[in-house]
C-alpha cells in the first residue's frame, strides 16, 4: 500500500472549491502518511495495536519471559489458585498457567495470522481471476463460492479436523480453505469495477500482460478491503481454532493453545475456575483488539474518509 497512486485510493473525497488553495499549500503526503493520519484518529485502534504488540512480544518471547517451562510438572503445587508465585494458578499437574498461556498464545496467534493470510491469498486469487476474466470463469468460480458459503462452516471444519491428529499446519490449512469466500466476493466486485478504469487501459496499451495488470495494477487498488478483511480474519480464526480445540479436535496437548487449555476445563470449572477464566480472557482481549484494529484500518484505508 506504499507508493501506489491511483484514482481509487489517491483521490479522496472531493475538496470543496474554497479548500483547494489550502490543500496545495500543504507539503505532499504519501499514501502511507495519509492512512497513518486517519488511523491515528481512531483511538481504540491505536490502543489495541499497542496491546497486541505487547501481547505478541510476551507470547513469542515466552521462552525468555515465562517464569517456568510450559511442561514443567510440579506435583507438590497442583491446582493452586492464583498467587504471586503462580500469577494465574496451576493445573492438575502443577504446570504454571501464566507460562502456558504465553506459550499457548504463540500457537493461537500463529494459527490466527497464518490462517487469515492463507484464506486471504486464496480469496484474493479466486476473486481477482473471476473479476478480471469474467464470463465462464467468473460464473464457475462464483457458483462454486456460493456452494461453499451455503454449507455451515463449523460442522464441515469439525468433520475435516476429525480425520487427522491435528497439527498446527493442518489446522491453518483447514481454517484457511473454509474461510476465503467473503474475501473472494469483495475482491471480485472491486476488480470488476476497477478493470474498467483508464489506468488499466493504459497499462494494457503499453503491452502489459494479464498477470502484470492483475498483480501490479488491480490488486494494489483493492488492497484496502483485503487488508481489513484479513485483519478481522485473524480474530475469527483464533476463535475457530479455540472452538475446535474446546471440542477436542484442535491442536492436541501437550502443546498448549488457548483453545485446548479450555478443553477439559468444563468438568473442573467449579473447583478451579481460574483454569477457565484466564485462557478465555486472553482470547477475548486479543480478538477484541484485532477487531478494533480492523476498524481503524478500515477508516484509514477508506478513501472516502477525509484525512483533514
Amino acid at each position: 500500500m506504499t507508493d501506489v497512486t491511483s484514482p481509487a485510493s489517491a483521490s479522496p473525497a472531493p475538496n470543496p472549491a474554497g479548500n483547494a488553495t489550502a490543500v496545495q499549500l500543504r507539503p505532499p503526503r504519501t499514501q502511507t502518511q495519509i492512512v497513518w493520519t486517519k488511523f491515528k484518529r481512531h483511538r481504540a485502534a491505536v490502543v489495541s495495536g499497542i496491546v497486541l504488540i505487547i501481547l505478541a512480544i510476551l507470547c513469542f518471547g515466552a521462552p525468555w519471559i515465562a517464569p517456568y517451562s510450559f511442561d514443567e510438572i510440579d506435583l507438590r503445587n497442583t491446582r493452586q489458585p492464583p498467587s504471586p508465585a503462580h500469577l494465574m494458578g496451576t493445573d492438575d499437574l502443577g504446570r504454571d498457567q501464566f507460562t502456558r498461556l504465553l506459550y499457548g498464545g504463540r500457537i493461537s496467534l500463529t494459527v490466527g495470522i497464518c490462517a487469515a493470510l492463507f484464506s486471504t491469498i486464496i480469496g484474493a486469487l479466486i476473486g481477482a481471476i473471476a473479476g478480471f476474466y469474467g464470463g465462464i470463469v467468473d460464473n464457475a468460480s462464483m457458483r462454486f463460492t456460493e456452494v461453499i458459503i451455503a454449507i455451515p462452516t463449523l460442522p464441515l471444519l469439525i468433520i475435516i479436523s476429525s480425520y487427522t491428529k491435528a497439527s498446527v499446519v493442518v489446522i491453518i490449512v483447514v481454517i484457511g480453505i473454509l474461510s476465503w469466500m467473503s474475501t473472494a466476493r469483495i475482491v471480485r466486485a472491486s476488480v470488476h469495477s476497477t478493470k474498467r478504469q483508464d489506468f488499466v487501459l493504459g497499462a494494457r496499451s503499453i503491452g502489459c500482460r494479464n498477470h502484470t495488470i492483475i498483480f501490479r495494477h488491480i490488486i494494489p487498488n483493492v488492497m484496502g478491503p483485503i487488508l481489513v478483511g484479513a485483519t478481522l480474519g485473524v480474530g475469527a480464526a483464533i476463535i475457530v481454532e479455540s472452538s475446535l480445540s474446546f471440542l477436542g479436535l484442535g491442536i492436541s496437548p501437550p502443546t498448549p493453545t488457548w483453545g485446548n487449555m479450555l478443553q477439559d476445563s468444563q468438568a473442573t470449572m467449579a473447583s478451579k475456575p481460574w483454569l477457565t477464566i484466564f485462557p478465555g480472557l486472553a482470547i477475548l482481549i486479543t480478538v477484541l483488539c484485532i477487531n478494533f484494529l480492523g476498524e481503524g484500518l478500515h477508516d484509514g484505508l477508506d478513501p472516502t474518509v477525509s484525512s483533514n
Partner: protein, 317 residues
C-alpha cells in the same frame, strides 16, 4: 413477484446438487471409514467381516456410484438409514429437531427484543451513555468465544449462585413449563449474544441513515409528533435492511447450535451431529449437514423476497 420466486427456486436446484457433492466428498474422505468404529470396540474383527460390512453399506462401490445412489434415493425423500441406530435418517433428525428449533427460536426472540430497541435508542440518543454501552457490548459480543461465554454463565449462574440448572433440557421427572424455561435461559442467551451484538449495531447505523433523509424532515415539517416521526416514518424504513440481515443470519445458527448444545448438553441436532461425527455415521452426517445447508439457502431466498417486498426500489430482475 411470483415469476421471480419461481426462477429463484429453480436456481436453487443446481446449488443443492453442488452442495451435496461437496459434502459427500468431504464425508467420504474420512480415512478408515465407518468400520473404524467397529475396530475401536477392541474385539477381534476378521477381514472377511469387515469386507462384508463394507459391502452391506455399499462402501465397496466407487464414490460416484455411491453418490448417485444417495442422490436418487434422496430425491425420493429417503435419506437412508443411520449406520449406528439403523433407523431412517429423517426419523433420527426429526426426533432431535424440536429441541434445536426451540433453542433457535428462543435465541432469536431474545436477540430481537434486546437488539432492535437498543439499536433504535442508540441512534436517537447518539453518544448517550447507553449508546456507548451498547457499542461496547456489541464489540465484546463479537469478540467473545461462544463456548467460553457459555462456560462463564454456567460458572456464575449454575455453580456459584445456583439459580439455573447447568445443562439439559428438563429435570428428569419434573417436566413443568417453569423448569423447561429455566433450562432454556442460558443456552438461548449464549446463542443470541452474537446476534444482539450484530443487530443492535446494524439497527443503529440503519436508523442513523434514515434520520437525516428528506421524508423524515417532511414528516417533521408537517408538525407530526417526534415520536410518530421516529417510530412510524423512521423505523419503518430503517427496518428493511435489518429484517434482511435477520433472515440471512439464520445461516449461522446451525454452527452456533453445535457449540451451544455441546456445552449445555442440549439434546438437539448439534449434539447429534457431534455424535454422528465420532460414529462415522455417513448417512446421518450427510442428512444433518444437508439440512443445515438447505436452511441457509432457503433463508437467503427469504431475505431477498422480504427485501423486494418491503422495499419498492428493488426490482425483481
Amino acid at each position: 413477484m411470483g415469476r421471480y420466486i419461481i426462477r429463484r427456486v429453480l436456481q436453487m436446484i443446481p446449488l443443492f446438487i453442488g452442495i451435496s457433492i461437496v459434502i459427500f466428498i468431504v464425508i467420504q474422505a474420512a480415512p478408515g471409514g465407518p468400520e473404524t468404529t467397529l475396530l475401536a470396540t477392541g474385539r477381534f474383527v476378521s477381514p472377511e467381516i469387515l469386507e462384508a460390512y463394507r459391502t452391506r453399506l455399499g462402501l465397496d462401490q466407487p464414490i460416484y456410484v455411491q453418490y448417485f445412489r444417495w442422490l436418487t434415493t434422496a430425491l425420493s425423500g429417503d435419506l437412508g438409514y443411520s449406520y449406528k441406530s439403523a433407523q431412517p435418517v429423517l426419523q433420527v433428525i426429526a426426533e432431535r429437531l424440536p429441541a434445536t428449533i426451540e433453542l433457535m427460536l428462543a435465541a432469536y426472540l431474545l436477540a430481537a427484543t434486546i437488539a432492535l430497541p437498543l439499536g433504535v435508542y442508540s441512534a436517537i440518543h447518539k453518544y448517550s451513555p447507553l449508546d456507548y454501552a451498547g457499542t461496547g457490548l456489541s464489540f465484546l459480543g463479537i469478540a467473545m468465544p461462544v463456548f467460553w461465554f457459555g462456560l462463564i454463565l454456567q460458572l456464575v449462574f449454575a455453580v456459584q449462585l445456583g439459580w439455573l440448572p447447568s445443562s439439559g433440557r428438563e429435570t428428569v421427572g419434573n417436566t413443568g413449563f417453569i423448569d423447561q424455561l429455566k433450562h432454556l435461559i442460558m443456552p438461548a442467551t449464549v446463542l443470541s449474544l452474537l446476534y444482539i451484538a450484530g443487530w443492535s449495531r446494524y439497527m443503529r447505523s440503519s436508523f442513523l441513515g434514515v434520520i437525516n433523509s428528506d421524508y423524515v424532515r417532511t414528516a417533521r415539517a408537517k408538525g407530526l409528533h417526534e415520536r410518530r416521526v421516529m417510530l412510524v416514518h423512521g423505523l419503518k424504513n430503517a427496518a428493511i435492511p435489518v429484517v434482511t440481515i435477520i433472515a440471512l443470519d439464520v445461516a449461522g445458527l446451525f454452527s452456533g447450535a453445535v457449540i451451544t448444545e455441546t456445552i449445555f448438553a442440549w439434546p438437539g441436532i448439534g449434539r447429534l451431529f457431534i455424535q454422528a461425527m465420532y460414529d462415522r455415521d455417513y448417512p446421518l452426517l450427510m442428512g444433518i449437514i444437508m439440512m443445515g445447508s438447505i436452511m441457509v439457502v432457503v433463508f437467503n431466498l427469504f431475505a431477498d423476497i422480504i427485501n423486494a417486498w418491503l422495499d419498492p426500489r428493488v426490482s425483481y430482475d
